[in-house]
């Protein structure tokens, strides 16, 4: 798991676990959950953007060349992108 910057003991947890710092979810790297990673084959990719829309982590970005790639800090390896990509341009491969 990612190293935490948060409170240590139960006494330090804010009342009701309210998080006062906006956007702090980005500090939580869901990429640490990943067992498989998506690998793009741009030769098959038709740049439809379906993977970008369906990714539950919102971690897929379009590059300047119009192809897509995932930010591995947040890609949790769910495989939804690969499942939805109908030209089968994304393959899920085991993490080493």
């Amino acid at each position: 798991m990612t190293k935490k910057k948060g409170p240590d003991t139960w006494q330090e947890i804010t009342t009701g676990c309210v998080v006062f710092q906006p956007g702090s979810a980005s500090e939580y790297h869901t990429g640490s959950w990943r067992a498989q990673r998506p690998v793009w084959n741009n030769q098959k990719c038709i740049k439809c953007g379906i993977c970008y829309i369906f990714c539950p982590e919102g971690c897929i970005q379009q590059s300047e060349d119009g192809f897509f790639q995932a930010n591995m800090d947040y890609c949790k390896g769910c495989g939804i992108c690969a499942h939805e990509c109908w030209p089968r341009a994304i393959a899920m491969t085991e993490e080493g």
Binding site: W10, Q11, I13, G16, C17, V18, A25
Partner: protein, 392 residues
């Protein structure tokens, strides 16, 4: 001047809530709570109470709506009963984990099945571990007083927890009783506007109800448990303040002719008044009997309970709910475990009574006590009986 009235208790509860400067209420009507829902919506619709009444399509939505509104810093109220409370169940621990002050009136009613609309405590007992402060009332006046006090307790900076007030369905909600409404000016002084710890506001974003896995969840549960245990101090302080201003005193464990009594009866809710009559009758016959009434269910008042029963030889615990396949009634098992390590502790027996609205009469209590007086202690210790259930 405090206003005196003869009023149905459910309506009186709505009137009392209307005195509390609430911002919002979301109440889905269900028998026997309906008159709270109806009368409160009337008060708001007629402009007598300046609040938003959110009409919802279920109790699940009612609880969700008050959670959201409480998150914005509003003073909120809801009320329910039986199946409605069961439908809210999923959200109750969320409200307490988020430390959101919410006040809920519960018109206690039996849960299905079989379908039954009358009173017992089988709706509140399964909510025991949801992290809500849970208080029982005995009559209409207590229902009014506690409904007002509940806001102060829930919103106190040292508490910040939801509070439910248990009001026996029909036995209390549908009784017309003489009641006194506290003077509005005094209520306003007693209950100043809520000062929220955090609010949902686009100008100052915060996250409420954050995700926490095994790395934080246990610490959060410990913090919640400490918070509700710690709330007793504030509850006692609020009751003291109430007694000073309004002249009516409340205690976590109330007693009636209990001092020095050999046999004690322990009840919760409206049964207490019936039990008092039974105690009077037996005292008049020279029997050494008394009554203990458990008002505060969560946080459980361990010290006060131990103090109240320490001199008794036998303790009869009355339950209005069943823990199926368990040790008897839920109140019984809690009392028994609370006293386990005490050196001097009474023999404890359990009678389950009043299920599904079955009448609880003075003769039931005198009958139990008379039987326990007769039997030797060993034998009673094993008693856990459905009192008055027909048998072949």
């Amino acid at each position: 001047m405090a206003k005196r009235a003869g009023m149905e208790v459910a309506m009186a509860v709505a009137e009392a809530v209307g005195q509390c400067n609430i911002d919002m209420a979301a109440v889905y009507p269900i028998t026997p709570q309906s008159h709270i829902a109806e009368h409160l919506s009337e008060l708001i619709a007629d402009g007598k109470v300046d609040a938003e009444f959110v009409t919802v399509e279920s109790e699940h939505s009612a609880m969700s709506a008050v959670i959201g509104a409480s998150g914005t810093g509003a003073r909120v109220y809801t009320a329910t009963s039986s199946q409605g409370l069961m439908l809210m169940h999923e959200l109750l621990p969320i409200a307490s984990a988020m430390r959101l002050p919410i006040v809920m009136g519960i018109a206690n009613r039996a849960v299905s099945g079989p379908l039954n609309i009358l009173n017992d405590h089988s709706d509140i007992m399964p909510q025991r571990d949801s992290g809500w402060i849970s208080i029982f009332v005995e009559n209409g006046q207590e229902a009014i007083d506690l409904s007002i006090q509940a806001f102060k307790i829930a919103e106190h900076k040292d508490v910040l927890l939801p509070v439910c007030i248990n009001i026996d369905g029909f036995q209390l909600t549908h009784m017309v009783e003489p009641v006194e409404f506290p003077e509005q000016e005094l209520v306003d002084k007693f209950l100043p506007p809520r000062e929220p710890y955090a609010t949902l506001h686009p100008g100052k974003p915060v996250t409420m109800g954050a995700f926490a896995m095994s790395d934080y969840y246990p610490e959060m549960m410990k913090a919640k448990n400490e918070a509700i245990k710690n709330s007793k101090k504030t509850i006692l302080a609020v009751w003291e303040e109430w007694a000073k201003i309004f002249g009516r005193a409340y205690k976590p464990v109330e007693t009636y002719k209990a001092e020095g009594a050999e046999i004690l009866l322990l009840t919760m809710g409206s049964m207490g008044e019936t039990a008092e009559v039974a105690i009077d009758e037996l005292r008049a016959q020279g029997k050494s009997v008394g009554l203990v009434k458990l008002r505060l269910w969560r946080p459980f008042p361990f010290e006060e309970l131990k103090e109240a029963v320490k001199e008794a030889k036998k303790l009869i615990v009355i339950d209005r709910a069943v823990s199926f396949g368990g040790p008897g009634g839920p109140v019984f098992s809690e009392i028994k475990s609370a006293l386990y390590h005490e050196e001097a502790r009474p023999m404890i027996c359990n009678y389950i009574i009043g299920l599904g609205g079955r009448d609880v009469a003075v003769t039931d209590f005198t009958g139990m006590i008379t039987r326990v007086l007769r039997e030797d202690s060993k034998k009673i210790a094993d008693t856990c009986e459905f009192w008055g259930v027909r048998e072949r």
